[in-house]
C-alpha cells in the first residue's frame, strides 16, 4: 500500500461569491491500493516510517500511564535490577562464591541484568502488544509492526534510566572505563534488534495461540540461566563455549561487560551473536508481515 501525503483537495480559482464547490485534483496513480496479497516487508517498514509520530505517541502513552498509575513510577525501573543484583550478590557472589572476572560481583551482576531485563521485558510485553491493543487494531489502520516496536521503545527508556545507576555504581567502586567503552552502544543496538526480532515474533504467536503468553515467562526464566547474567561466560568449559555462543544473548552480554569494564572481547561469540541477531530479526519481521492480516481476523 502506498500513501501520498501530498494528495489533497484544492479549491479551484473561481470568482469570489460564486457557489464554488471545491474541485479535487486527483492524482494519476492510486494513492492507496488494497489487494488480497500481503504487503511486502519493505512497504511495511516504509509505513512505519510515515507513522513515526504515532510510534512516538504510543511510547509516550505507555510511559505516561505507567508513571501515573504507580506511586514509585520511575523508581521501579531502577529497583527491579537493583534488588535482583543485591540478592544475587549475596547468594551467588558471597555464599556460592561465583567468580566475576575481577569486577565487584554486584556491579558485574547489575551490568548483566540491565541488558537482560531490557530484553526479557521487551519480549514479554511485546508478546501482549497486539492482543492488548486489539480494540485499536480492529478500529483503525496503522502498520501493526508499530505496536511491538513501541514496546521496545518504552523498555529502552527504562534501560537508560536504570543505566544511570550503573554509572553511579562504577563510580562508587572506583572503576575506570577504557577505549572499549565506545563499543558499548554497538551492543545496545544489537540487543535492541534482538528484542525487536523476538518480540515481533511473540506478538504474532500470542495473537494466534493465546497460551504462548503463559509459556513465555517460563521460557524467559530458563533463557536467563543459559545466558551469562549471574555468572561469567568464562566458567563455561572451553569445549562447550562454541555451543554456548549460539545463544545470541550471551555474546551481547559478554560484549556489554567487556566494553564497560575494559575486559578482552570474545570476538567469536560476538560475531556468532551478531549473525544470529540479524537473521532472527529479518526472519521474524518477515513472519509478522506475512501473518498479520490473518491475525486481525481472529483478534
Amino acid at each position: 500500500m502506498m500513501i501520498n501525503e501530498e494528495a489533497s483537495v484544492v479549491v479551484s480559482h473561481l470568482p469570489e461569491g460564486s457557489l464554488a464547490v471545491p474541485h479535487p485534483i486527483l492524482p494519476e496513480e492510486p494513492t492507496i491500493k488494497i489487494r488480497p496479497a500481503s504487503a511486502s516487508v519493505l512497504s511495511n517498514l516504509r509505513e512505519v516510517w510515515t507513522h513515526r509520530e504515532l510510534l512516538y505517541f504510543l511510547i509516550w502513552r505507555d510511559l505516561k500511564v505507567r508513571y501515573k498509575q504507580t506511586i514509585l513510577g520511575a523508581a521501579w525501573v531502577i529497583l527491579q535490577p537493583l534488588l535482583m543484583a543485591l540478592v544475587f550478590a549475596v547468594f551467588i557472589g558471597k555464599l556460592a562464591r561465583v567468580t566475576s572476572d575481577g569486577v565487584p560481583y554486584a556491579v558485574f551482576a547489575y551490568a548483566g541484568l540491565l541488558p537482560w531485563l531490557f530484553f526479557s521485558n521487551s519480549v514479554a510485553s511485546g508478546s501482549h502488544s497486539l492482543v492488548a491493543n486489539n480494540y485499536v487494531v480492529t478500529k483503525v489502520y496503522f502498520p501493526r509492526l508499530i505496536l511491538p516496536i513501541a514496546v521496545v521503545g518504552v523498555r529502552l527508556v527504562d534501560f537508560l534510566v536504570a543505566f544511570s545507576v550503573l554509572v553511579c555504581l562504577m563510580f562508587y567502586y572506583g572503576m575506570h572505563v577504557t577505549w572499549s567503552v565506545f563499543m558499548f552502544p554497538v551492543f545496545i543496538m544489537q540487543i535492541v534488534l534482538l528484542a525487536l526480532g523476538i518480540g515481533v515474533w511473540f506478538a504474532a504467536l500470542n495473537a494466534g495461540y493465546r497460551d504462548v503468553g503463559a509459556v513465555l515467562p517460563v521460557a524467559l526464566q530458563l533463557w536467563m540461566f543459559i545466558s551469562p547474567i549471574i555468572y561469567p561466560a568464562s566458567t563455561v568449559p572451553p569445549n562447550w563455549r562454541l555451543l554456548y555462543a549460539f545463544n545470541p544473548v550471551s555474546g551481547i552480554v559478554e560484549g556489554v561487560r567487556a566494553s564497560l569494564f575494559g575486559l578482552p572481547f570474545n570476538w567469536t561469540s560476538i560475531a556468532i551473536s551478531a549473525v544470529i541477531t540479524l537473521a532472527t530479526l529479518i526472519y521474524f519481521v518477515h513472519y509478522f508481515c506475512r501473518k498479520q492480516d490473518s491475525l486481525i481476523d481472529v483478534l
Binding site: 479535487p24 486527483l26 492524482p27 494513492t31 488480497p36 504515532l54 487494531v137 480492529t138 483503525v140 486481525i296
Partner: protein, 260 residues
C-alpha cells in the same frame, strides 16, 4: 469525472476451523496434528472448514465530492466493507484503488486512555486516527471549544461524564479532514442535540468537497445527507442509485419480509 474510489469484485471470506478460530490454543494444534494422520489412516476425512462469505463480488465507484450511503440489515456485510476500505481487514479477492488520503472513523474515541487527561487524549486519539501533530496543535483550541470541556482539560478522562467523553471524542473525530472520510454509525450515539451537531458537521465536511462513505441504520439521515446509496444484502450488492429510490426499495423489501 474520474472516480476517487474504485472497488472491483471485492469478496471477503471468514473461515471457522481449528486453525483460525479465536481463542485457539497450542494444545488444539498438537491434538489436531496427531489426529490427522490417524484419521487419514482410517479413511476419515478431517472436519470440513466452515466458511462464511461476508462479502461477495462487490463492485462500485465513488465520484469525488460524493456522499455515499451504505444501508442494509444487520450482518449484511456493511461493516466488513468499511473495514476493508479502511485497510483494517484484507479482502480475500478483488481490489480497491483510492485516489486520495483516506481517514476512517469506525468508532469515536479510539485509543482514549482513562488515566490520561483530556488534553493528552486529544493528541493520542488524533494521532491514532491519522492526524499530524502540527495539525492537532493548530486545531486544538477549536477541538476543545467544540467539545466544551475547557475547564476539564487537565483532568483524567476517567472522571469525565459519559456526555463529556462523547463530546471530546467526537470533537477530535470531526476535525479529521481527509480526502475520503469513511464513517460507521458515528452518529448513533448521544442525545438529539448531539446528533444534530454531528449532522451539521457532516454537512460541513461534504460541503468542503470531501468524499464521504457513510454507513447507517438511520434512514432519515442517510436520505438527508447522501446523494447515492448502496444497498447490501447477505454480502451482495443488491441496489445502487439515488438515495430516495434505493431506500424506498429497501423499505418495501423489509415490510414484504415481515409480512411473509
Amino acid at each position: 469525472m474520474r472516480p476517487i474510489i474504485e472497488v472491483r469484485n471485492l469478496s471477503k471470506r471468514y473461515c471457522f476451523d481449528n486453525r483460525v478460530l479465536a481463542n485457539r490454543n497450542l494444545r488444539e494444534v498438537f491434538v489436531k496434528a496427531l489426529k490427522s494422520p490417524v484419521e487419514r489412516f482410517y479413511g476419515r476425512k478431517p472436519a470440513p472448514e466452515t466458511e462464511f462469505w461476508a462479502l461477495r463480488n462487490i463492485s462500485f465507484e465513488v465520484e469525488p465530492g460524493e456522499v455515499l450511503g451504505i444501508i442494509g440489515r444487520n450482518g449484511a456485510g456493511k461493516s466488513t466493507l468499511l473495514k476493508i476500505l479502511s485497510r483494517i481487514v484484507k479482502p480475500t479477492m478483488g481490489e480497491v484503488d483510492m485516489y486520495g488520503r483516506p481517514g476512517s472513523l469506525l468508532e469515536i474515541g479510539t485509543g482514549f486512555h482513562p488515566d490520561l487527561t483530556g488534553r493528552e487524549n486529544v493528541f493520542l486519539n488524533g494521532t491514532i486516527i491519522g492526524m499530524k501533530q502540527g495539525e492537532i496543535k493548530n486545531k486544538f483550541d477549536e477541538i476543545v471549544a467544540f467539545a466544551g470541556v475547557e475547564q476539564f482539560l487537565d483532568v483524567p478522562i476517567k472522571y469525565y461524564s459519559s456526555g463529556m467523553y462523547l463530546r471530546l471524542a467526537f470533537a477530535v473525530a470531526a476535525h479529521l479532514k481527509p480526502d475520503i472520510l469513511i464513517l460507521d454509525e458515528v452518529m448513533a450515539v448521544g442525545d438529539a442535540e448531539f446528533q444534530k451537531k454531528c449532522q451539521a458537521k457532516m454537512k460541513e465536511i461534504s460541503g468542503e468537497g470531501r468524499t464521504v462513505i457513510f454507513v447507517s441504520h438511520d434512514l432519515m439521515s442517510v436520505m438527508k445527507l447522501c446523494g447515492r446509496v448502496l444497498l447490501i444484502e447477505a454480502g451482495q450488492l443488491l441496489d445502487v442509485g439515488e438515495a430516495e429510490g434505493v431506500i424506498s426499495n429497501y423499505l418495501q423489501n423489509l415490510s414484504g419480509a415481515t409480512a411473509n
